[in-house]
């Protein structure tokens, strides 16, 4: 039994896990187990698609932004998200999958994007709520991913976190301004808060007790903090910010726990969460159709650019 030869895969796995244990980062050309590669492609592409699909609900308000300053900020923010999608596609491509394949996986439903973008953005206050709550939740998650084990993913996250620090603030600023404004503005802000609070909490994913992918993700240091840990971190920070500007948290069960120094929240509606993930959110169809339409409309442009290059190469 002792001298039974190790298979190649076993050897790769052992060396790989040794590296992970040492806290070394994994680089594209390093040997890695298939499961690690698959997990990363799934996670990074989902992350990339979320950034890109997330541009849609917000760009819905660019032309209606109420001041020149507001329009500038919103446009710059959405553009950042496009850039972040691009960084992440780049990171996924280092794993041997092309952007075309990644987009195809999105279109066929094989790859997912963050559920939060299947909710409609109804008023200008929603733009504030998205920046403050949705980006706030995303940042908590992304900060923890800066130390993820895959080098290109980690580097992309460092860059993203640096750039996103203004996103949450601009959202909070919108909310603060509205709460200091007319009665109508205050109502609009509270209404947005009521609609975005729970979906934001869902962004952290299922409770640790029922999260299906956690095992290897932790062992391989792709994920560094659990869903519930991150969710609590977000709630603790956000409740305080809400109180300062006079917004109510739409959770009658929310209470401060003296013992562990965290807020405890009421029950999350996981039925709704799963229903929306399964494609039944108010905007799933709209978001995907839009992405496919734009992709198809851009096809002639991309093909022409390639054709032009080939012509030029032949001429030289």
């Amino acid at each position: 039994m002792e001298n039974k030869e190790q298979t190649v895969e076993e050897e790769i796995l052992i060396n790989f896990e040794k590296k992970i244990e040492n806290g070394d980062s994994i680089e594209p050309k390093d040997k890695m187990p298939d499961g690690y590669r698959r997990h990363l492609i799934r996670q990074i592409s989902q992350h990339a698609h979320s950034e890109v699909i997330g541009m849609q609900p917000e760009s819905n308000w660019i032309t209606r932004a109420p001041t020149l300053r507001a329009k500038q900020i919103l446009l710059a923010k959405i553009q950042d998200e496009g850039g972040h999608g691009l960084y992440l596609y780049g990171a996924a491509e280092t794993l041997g999958i092309s952007r075309s394949e990644l987009i195809e996986q999105l279109h066929t439903g094989k790859a997912k994007y963050s559920n939060i973008f299947n909710y409609p953005v109804l008023t200008w206050a929603d733009i504030g709520a998205i920046g403050w709550l949705v980006d706030g939740a995303a940042i908590v998650n992304q900060v923890s991913l800066q130390r993820t084990s895959y080098g290109p993913y980690s580097r992309a996250m460092v860059r993203i976190c640096k750039e996103e620090s203004f996103h949450q603030r601009q959202g909070y600023e919108i909310m603060a301004k509205m709460m200091a404004g007319t009665k109508e503005q205050q109502e609009m802000a509270q209404d947005a808060m009521n609609r975005w609070w729970w979906p934001s909490l869902m962004m952290f994913g299922p409770h640790d007790s029922s999260s299906p992918h956690s095992g290897n993700a932790f062992k391989w240091k792709i994920k560094r903090h659990s869903n519930d840990e991150l969710r609590h971190k977000f709630i603790d920070k956000t409740v305080q910010q809400a109180q300062v500007i006079g917004l109510k948290i739409p959770d009658k069960d929310l209470k401060w726990n003296e013992k562990n120094g965290h807020y405890e929240h009421g029950a999350i509606n996981w039925y709704e969460f799963h229903k929306v993930i399964a494609g039944n959110g108010p905007c799933n169809k709209q978001r995907m159709e839009h992405h496919i339409k734009v992709h198809n409309e851009g096809k002639w442009v991309r093909e022409a650019a390639e054709a032009h290059r080939l012509k030029k190469e032949r001429q030289n």
């Binding site: 050309k29 553009q79 491509e93 075309s100 987009i103 860059r159 991309r302 093909e303 650019a305």
Partner: protein
């Protein structure tokens, strides 16, 4: 049905200020050199991060194989005489 093209992959290197090293920033897609350069500019210097950009077709980059790390890099580890600290200076001499 023709297959989708997302154009070629290019790697981007940025210099943050004059005199600094060029550091890998990420990648972009583009069909030609000028597009690659402009896409790199719009993607990686939205906040004035750079004073200069290099773009290189990703397939032109040759990378060392991690399997060769022992023969590539380990032999340099014992060449201590390449470092100034290896040498003993007379007590009163000042370093140049």
């Amino acid at each position: 049905m023709t297959t989708d093209t997302q154009l070629e992959l290019w790697e981007v290197f940025m210099q943050s200020k004059p005199g600094a090293n060029y550091i890998h920033a990420g990648s972009v897609h583009a069909s030609d050199k000028s597009m690659a350069l402009q896409n790199a500019r719009d993607t990686y210097s939205r906040r004035g991060e750079g004073t200069s950009i290099w773009v290189v077709p990703a397939n032109a980059i040759v990378a060392s194989n991690p399997d060769d790390n022992d023969l590539f890099f380990d032999p340099a580890n014992d060449k201590v005489y390449r470092h100034p600290t290896f040498y003993v200076m007379p007590k009163d001499a000042k370093a140049i």
